[in-house]
């Protein structure tokens, strides 16, 4: 376990940059991912300027982008499009998943299962640096002539193949990212299956671990089709092939001189085969984090452990057979459409079961309103709203009208932003003492929460209204050209101001994360009086994690056990204590 003899200190490179320790790698993923989230957010604040004040020069930084992107500081449509495509790409692939899976997964899985590290530490190192390389490629793509990728994060051909800009860079970045993800998922699954501590049966695993296990299977099996598709599109862009270009394609009035015979729908199928399971990759770790925090701050077991696990496994399987609900407008015919509508409605059931179990966990609880708990509690109705608004989208008659409108943007942002990202914030506040030995400041956390919660709703609620009016996504003028949008155009200004305000409320969080590191190390092993195995280790744990190899004696949520001395009985405390 933890090396008793102090090994020679490894130095900066082997200790912090190229460490084999899962905790260091987890923190690397978290910090890099948080930085990308900040970048994606900044990109959005710039887009919001164009939507709120179309045609006006971007204040302060407008002059930085040059003649090809923002002449006289006024954003060009192509620049708006590349900001949109990269906002989505960066947030989903470089921000949320690396923090939720690479960060929290890496840091917590070995600790929560009582293992000294991941099964393959060198593979872990490789997967982080593959991700970092992917990030660098995506960042560099902004400097390429023609601009960054600008065909949406969905990169639909033929546009993505014939468009100017750094689409090929985007594709290479995705190939690197998919490699990183694959190596990571191999590691996570093997570790969870093979390296659980004695006594830790599958039925005693914290729900967080189940969530990460299913997430890893989704990443393992769903990403390869996108890898294939990215390879095809890369060939189309650089080698002149026609995997996705149909015969006789007319571009700007002229027929394209390519071989033809390709199928744009082929891309859509391959893309969404990944991208639907991807949305469950975005939400399952968040549900795992929120569940741990709710159990701890209600001082009672989670309601319905078996329902939670069964629902998660069901979601995993079903997520692979719903993808074409993103493609209802492609003219698929009623048979195919009925199939996908059915599977889509069915998959909403386990999602509701999970949310219901979490709500029921609050019943009769002794709630501690710590900052992690504030975010975890807010997650529940926010995810609920996002999920429920998905139902009209899943049913083709309504989905056909709402497709590609602001309603869709509102739906998925409610799930990812005040949903997943709130869970990630909650997780940072909750596990910060374990990772650093220090507590974060409570007041700054409350300020961060209150401002962010209000602003999130001011940003995304009006978008439902805009979408129902018919306002399309990805329009540089915010839909001003269409008469049907005129009554809801004014909401752009409200939303933008809420977004800029929300930016200000992230400052207390950033300050808190950095300055709390300088506080004295007051956190002991188990500052939250929690029950799972990570709280048996020191704060922060040394290499090898545990002073003595831990043993699991009971389930993960033994809170308020009748007759026990304290209101919690940790998994790692021997029977009779």
């Amino acid at each position: 376990m933890v090396s008793a003899s102090a090994q020679k200190s490894p130095g900066f490179l082997r200790g912090y940059l190229f460490s084999l320790d899962h905790k260091v790698i987890g923190i690397q993923y978290t910090l890099t991912g948080l930085l990308f989230l900040l970048l994606g957010f900044t990109i959005m604040t710039m887009m919001r300027w164009q939507l709120a004040h179309p045609g006006l020069p971007i204040p302060l930084v407008g002059g930085w982008f040059g003649q090809t992107r923002a002449p006289q500081g006024i954003m060009l449509p192509e620049f708006y499009n590349s900001l949109g495509a990269m906002h989505g790409t960066i947030m989903v692939f470089l921000g949320v998943v690396p923090v939720a899976v690479g960060g929290f997964g890496n840091f917590l899985i070995p600790l929560q299962i009582g293992a000294p590290d991941m099964a393959f530490p060198k593979l872990n190192l490789a997967s982080y640096w593959c991700y970092a390389a992917a990030g660098l490629v995506m960042l560099a793509s902004f400097l390429v002539p023609g601009g960054a990728a600008q065909s949406g994060w969905t990169s639909y051909p033929p546009l993505s193949v014939i468009n100017q800009g750094a689409q090929a860079w985007w594709l290479v970045g995705m190939l690197l990212l998919i490699t990183s993800s694959l190596l990571g998922s191999l590691n996570f699954i093997t570790t969870i299956v093979q390296m659980r501590a004695p006594g830790l049966t599958f039925g005693r695993l914290p729900f967080f671990i189940w969530a990460q296990l299913v997430t890893s299977f989704l990443l393992l099996l769903a990403f390869p089709p996108l890898e294939a598709a990215a390879f095809f599109q890369l060939m189309d862009r650089v080698a002149g092939t026609s995997f996705f270009l149909p015969t006789g394609l007319v571009v700007s009035g002229r027929v394209l001189h390519n071989a033809g015979g390709g199928n744009p729908l082929l891309w859509q199928h391959l893309f969404w085969f990944l991208a639907h399971p991807e949305v469950y990759v975005l939400i399952l770790p968040a549900m795992g984090i929120v569940s741990e925090i709710i159990a701890n701050n209600t001082r009672k077991p989670l309601y319905g452990y078996r329902a939670l696990v069964g629902s998660t496994l069901t979601i995993g399987f079903m997520s692979m057979v719903v993808w074409a609900h993103h493609m209802y407008i492609t003219g698929m015919g009623t048979t195919m459409s009925s199939f996908f509508q059915t599977t889509t409605i069915l998959i909403s059931i386990p999602s509701v079961v999970i949310l219901t179990c979490l709500f029921l966990s609050l019943w009769g609880a002794s709630i501690r309103f710590t900052v992690p708990m504030l975010f975890a509690l807010a997650f529940l109705p926010m995810f609920g709203l996002g999920g429920l608004t998905g139902l009209p989208l899943g049913m083709a008659p309504a989905g056909l009208h709402l497709h590609d409108t602001y309603y869709v943007i509102a739906h998925f942002h409610y799930i990812v932003a005040p949903g997943t990202i709130f869970a990630l914030f909650a997780g940072v506040y909750y596990w910060y003492p374990k990772a650093t030995g220090r507590q974060m400041n409570e007041r700054l956390g409350q300020l961060h929460f209150a401002g962010t919660f209000v602003c999130m709703n001011l940003i995304f609620m009006p978008m439902f209204i805009q979408g129902l009016a018919g306002m399309n996504r990805r329009l540089y003028d915010g839909g001003a050209l269409y008469a049907m949008n005129h009554d809801v155009l004014w909401l752009h200004l409200l939303i933008s101001r809420a977004a800029w305000t929300m930016a200000v409320f992230q400052v207390p969080f950033m300050v808190n994360v950095v300055l709390s590191l300088r506080a004295p190390r007051t956190a002991d092993d188990n500052p939250w009086q929690a029950t799972t195995l990570e709280w048996a280790a020191a704060s922060p744990p040394g290499h090898g994690n545990f002073r003595v190899p831990p043993h699991a004696y009971r389930g993960p949520y033994e809170y308020s056990v009748p007759g026990a001395a304290a209101d919690y009985t940790p998994q790692f405390a021997p029977a009779g204590e």
Binding site: L186, T190, V193, P224, T241, G261, L270
Partner: protein, 196 residues
């Protein structure tokens, strides 16, 4: 720090870490080649005209390649058996033979590509050649990866300790699993692209 079950088998799962990881990896690879293959099927069935494999491709060269890639795996199976019987020298020779056969496969593949390019059959020519190059090319990249692993196995002599021997045996085992998969993919590609 010792990683548990890297060498010894975990009783309740019945396997050691690397073997589980290789099964998972192969599942993922099956999804990758499945996607590539599905795309091929979609494009071919949706096309008005699609040449037959023997009309455009050299079936003889493809057949030789089939023999070479199967020989590589067969050699590696011999190596694994030999190492198990503690004939380390024989095992190394067999690994070398496997690597040589695989290199022969690649050399022939590159020769084939060159012949095609010189004849004007480039990926951009039509979707027949586009799918031919991408599917066999991705497969060839996997052969390259496999050769790198074989070279690594040749260069790393296991030490005398039983744990080192066991670790090396495990590496042979999982590498052989990988090569069987590479074989299977080639057979499917050969039949569906060269022969149909």
């Amino acid at each position: 720090m010792e990683i548990p079950y890297a060498i010894e088998v975990r009783p309740d799962t019945g396997t050691y870490n690397a073997r589980l990881a290789m099964w998972l990896f192969l599942a993922s690879e099956a999804m990758l080649f499945g996607a590539l293959f599905s795309a091929y099927v979609l494009l071919r069935t949706g096309a008005d005209v699609w040449p037959r494999g023997p009309e455009r491709l050299n079936v003889t060269l493809g057949s030789i390649n089939t023999v070479l890639i199967l020989a590589a795996s067969a050699s590696l199976a011999v190596a694994r058996r030999a190492f198990l019987a503690q004939h380390a020298g024989r095992a190394r020779a067999a690994i070398g033979a496997a690597a040589a056969a695989a290199c022969g496969f690649l050399a022939l593949k590159l020769f084939e590509y060159r012949e095609h390019v010189l004849a004007g059959d480039v990926p951009a020519r039509d979707n027949f050649f586009a799918t031919y190059y991408v599917l066999t090319g991705v497969h060839a990249l996997h052969v390259v990866g496999g050769i790198l692993v074989l070279v690594y196995l040749l260069l790393t002599r296991p030490g005398p300790a039983p744990s080192a021997t066991a670790r090396y045996q495990h590496r042979l085992d999982v590498t052989l699993m990988y090569w069987y998969f590479v074989d299977a993919v080639w057979l499917i590609l050969f039949v569906s692209i060269y022969l149909r």
